[in-house]
């Protein structure tokens, strides 16, 4: 059994050193899963394709990260690409030199335009402005009434009249001028992008008032259709930004990514609830990780890059390779690795580890037991300076709440492990590469050790 393991061990370490670059196979494997994740998040198929290709180009042949597994490395790149796509330049409202600044809202039925109108009004008020709301949705029963009630809630006047949307919009702006309001927010009726008459109407509204900002309001749970709809609205109105609504739900929100990718205009605001106060500026990184749906992996990546103590790890590697690895070293490293997450998870993400190894179940209780046993030893016992005889074993067993059988097992298997690692001797040192040069008990054959290759982590 140990021969096979030793071979495998060598194999992994060899691959780890000699590869140095992300391989096609690994990248493809991860990208397959990414594709599924993005589609399940409602990112448009065409957008997924573009993204996956861009990521593939970035990753294949890239230098291997020193601290992340290949899979983690690719996922990190994906997250960066998503964040970059979603982010970019934030929208900064620039007010018209001659007031009022006109803001036009457009979108499908039920997206949340009317609620957003009121939220925007409140937001502008907070910015120290004097907005006016214009209720130009004359199609939906009681839409005007709804906006009037919301306007009252946020303390902003509402203008409307039962004529036609274009007239309402035009007169609304005139009213704002008359009243000295410096921002006008126009709510319009929801409309299908393929409804030619209604799309012509909203264009007419736009032409009549010349808005500084036209916002496309879209529901975060929208599916593949987001692209088609956004493109149509953009073509008709030349959008300036996007408002994403109902973000407080559990939809992954891929539609936002699709729209941003395709229309290229910033996501200005997100609506996070039914109250008028539930309105925020947009955070691309938050949505990116939500769309990707790999929060735990991203967290692990962050943790790994931040927490793993390089110095301690390197020293331990030296000792290991020099055959001086003790139970104390083992405990220390075990605890370090544990800080990166549950051991099962960490094991699963190791590069090049054979599948059956990756899938071997590690019960954290076993790990706890091992830790307890080692902690119940004296310092000398841990460092292998004392022979652990029967009475010591008994003491350790009692102290750790385990049995002498457990203690025996641990000691025996640790010894086997030491043997195995020692037998790697020359191979191990060569492969470790970054270890400080120490006189080894055996001659190193064909050492490829170069000080400059010492990993910076």
């Amino acid at each position: 059994m140990f021969e096979t393991l030793t071979d495998r061990f060598e194999g992994i370490l060899t691959r780890l050193r000699s590869r140095g670059r992300l391989g096609d196979e690994e990248v493809n494997e991860v990208l397959r899963e990414i594709r599924v994740a993005l589609l399940e998040a409602d990112v448009n198929l065409g957008v997924v394709r573009d993204l996956v290709e861009a990521i593939r180009a970035r990753c294949t042949g890239a230098a291997l990260s020193k601290s992340l597994t290949p899979a983690q490395q690719v996922i990190k790149v994906v997250n960066e690409e998503l964040t970059a796509t979603l982010g970019g330049e934030a929208l900064k409202i620039q007010y018209a030199s001659r007031p009022p600044t006109v803001v036009l809202l457009a979108g499908l039925q039920g997206a949340g335009k009317t609620t957003v109108a009121a939220k925007l009004a409140r937001w502008f008020k907070q910015q120290g402005r004097n907005p006016l709301l214009v209720a130009a949705d004359l199609q939906r029963p009681a839409a005007v009434e709804q906006l009037r009630i919301l306007g009252e809630d946020v303390g902003v006047p509402v203008f409307s009249e039962p004529t036609d949307p274009v007239a309402v919009a035009r007169k609304g702006v005139a009213e704002a001028e008359r009243l000295g309001r410096d921002v006008v927010i126009i709510d319009t009726a929801g409309r299908l992008a393929i409804d030619e008459a209604l799309m012509a109407e909203v264009q007419a509204i736009s032409q009549a008032v010349g808005p500084q900002y036209t916002f496309f309001v879209i529901d975060a749970m929208t599916g593949q259709d987001a692209v088609q709809t956004a493109e149509a609205f953009n073509e008709a109105l030349a959008l300036d930004g996007v408002v994403l609504t109902k973000v407080d739900g559990d939809a992954r929100g891929g539609a936002a990514l699709s729209v941003k990718h395709v229309v290229g205009k910033p996501i200005a605001f997100v609506s996070t609830g039914e109250r008028t106060a539930d309105f925020e500026t947009f955070h691309p990184d938050r949505l990116a990780s939500r769309i990707l749906g790999m929060g735990d992996v991203l967290g692990l990546i962050e943790k790994t890059e931040r927490e793993y103590d390089q110095g301690v790890a390197e020293k331990a590697t030296e000792r290991l390779m020099a055959g001086k690895f003790s139970l104390e070293d083992f405990l220390e490293q075990l605890q370090q690795v544990k800080r990166m997450g549950p051991l099962q998870g960490v094991l699963g993400m190791l590069p090049g580890v054979p599948k059956d190894f990756r899938n071997a179940t590690i019960d954290d209780r076993d790990v706890g037991r091992v830790e307890a046993i080692i902690k119940s030893m004296t310092s000398d016992e841990r460092r292998g300076l004392a022979v652990i005889d029967g009475s010591r074993r008994m003491r350790i067993a009692n102290g750790s709440g385990t049995s002498t059988t457990d203690v025996n097992n641990l000691l025996r298997q640790f010894k086997e492990m030491q043997k195995m690692v020692r037998s790697l001797g020359p191979v191990g040192s060569r492969l470790a590469g970054g270890a400080k040069q120490k006189p080894s008990k055996r001659k190193q054959k064909g050492s490829r050790f170069t000080p400059s290759s010492r990993g910076a982590g």
Binding site: L13, L39, D42, R140, E145, D153
Partner: protein, 386 residues
């Protein structure tokens, strides 16, 4: 080299713990990704279908051939076929301007040999229709098997015909009619769903249709949260010729329903249509409120025979989660799929039906009172590829 040490520690731990290599395995997919592996309950289809007779039908399926179609060239395994040079349609074209391009997908794959790219295009159609990865994969894997065994003709037409049959079979046995109570008191139909899907408009349409059938209808304005929700429903009551029971704004929705049912019973009205406030299924307190609403709605003298989940056809995969959560909370009896007159295809209902067994009863196709039709599986499926 931290990575090496991790590998070493991992090995050491595994050894020391005495875990044998090659022991119990865990599916890798369940650890690294979301995306549950669904239990697929897609019904196995029966015989090949007849060509659909509907005039809307853009696709003429060829009559089932008596003899097996002669294969062009040697019979090869999939994936080994030489791809002939062809122009991959651009995404923009694929998205299409309107839903009814004559021929649709059949045009783009007609006359070519069946190979992996054919399946790619079918996959694309389904994914773009919001069918979801799980459903799409399952359905196409089944199709691939059938092509392999010769059960399905290895032509584009054969494939598309079989695929459509499989998808239609998902809805087999469903009846689109809304159930009426058979007892003394008024029938109650409860409408639930997330915000903005079209519950109130749907109620208006259903009321109009039931009035057409000669029934007396009472609308219960149990959305007491949304500004002017009562006014909105009032307009629909007028349009449909139904009476309306409202509460004060902010009143308990259950009390409105209680009043509406009592009123309907007293007036011997046939039907109570109860509107509720839109709510995200993630809001625990709102779902709790909905549970209470249901409890009140099913109390005699009312007979609660339908709890209809109104679902927006533009919704992506979250639609399945909505269906699950609402079903869990109040037990949904059927789906109303709205806004299908747009470009969205509503493919998420495939998963909703196959996983949850929820029938699609009605489809909304516009904002006027008449824009309501019964769900038709073959028309729906045809439109996925249109």
């Amino acid at each position: 080299m931290p990575l090496i040490i991790i590998v070493v520690i991992a090995f050491a731990v595994v050894l020391v713990l005495g875990v044998g290599v090659g022991l119990a395995t865990r599916s890798r997919g369940s650890r690294t990704l979301q995306g549950p592996a669904h239990d697929r309950a897609v019904d196995r289809p029966g015989q090949a279908p007849q060509a659909p007779a509907s005039t809307e039908e853009a696709l003429q399926a060829p009559p089932p051939s008596e003899e097996p179609a002669a294969l062009e060239g040697p019979a090869v395994l999939e994936g080994e076929v030489e791809l002939e040079a062809f122009e991959r349609p651009v995404l923009r074209e694929r998205l299409g301007k309107a839903r009814r391009l004559l021929g649709g997908y059949l045009d783009s794959i007609r006359g070519r040999t069946v190979d992996d790219s054919t399946f790619d295009e079918l996959e694309e159609a389904l994914l773009l229709a919001d069918a979801g990865v799980a459903t799409t994969t399952k359905v196409l894997d089944d199709l691939r098997d059938k092509v392999r065994t010769g059960e399905v003709e290895r032509t584009p037409e054969g494939l598309l015909t079989a695929l459509r049959a499989d998808l239609e079979a998902i809805f087999e046995g469903d009846r689109p009619e809304l159930v009426l109570g058979d007892g003394e008191g008024p029938t109650v139909w409860l409408f639930v769903g997330v915000n903005g899907v079209g519950k109130t408009t749907t109620i208006g349409k259903v009321a109009a249709r039931e009035r057409d059938e000669g029934r007396t209808v009472v609308l219960a304005a149990a959305d007491t949260f949304r500004a002017a929700a009562g006014e909105q429903l009032e307009t629909w009551a007028e349009r449909a010729g139904a009476s309306l029971i409202r509460g004060a704004e902010g009143a308990d929705p259950s009390s409105v329903i209680f009043d509406a049912v009592a009123h309907a019973a007293a007036k011997h009205a046939d039907l109570v249509l109860a509107d509720t406030a839109g709510r995200l299924h993630t809001k625990v307190n709102l779902m709790e409120e909905l549970r209470k609403v249901r409890r009140i709605a099913e109390r005699p003298p009312g007979q609660l025979t339908e709890v209809l989940l109104v679902l927006d056809a533009t919704t992506g995969q979250n639609g399945l989660i909505q269906a699950k959560q609402f079903t869990e909370a109040v037990g949904v009896s059927g789906i109303v799929l709205t806004k299908l007159d747009g470009t969205a295809k509503g493919g998420v209902v495939l998963a909703i039906r196959s996983e949850l067994g929820l029938p699609i009863k009605l489809v909304g196709v516009g904002e006027s009172a008449l824009d309501l039709v019964e769900f038709d599986p073959s028309e729906f499926v045809a439109a996925l590829f249109g």
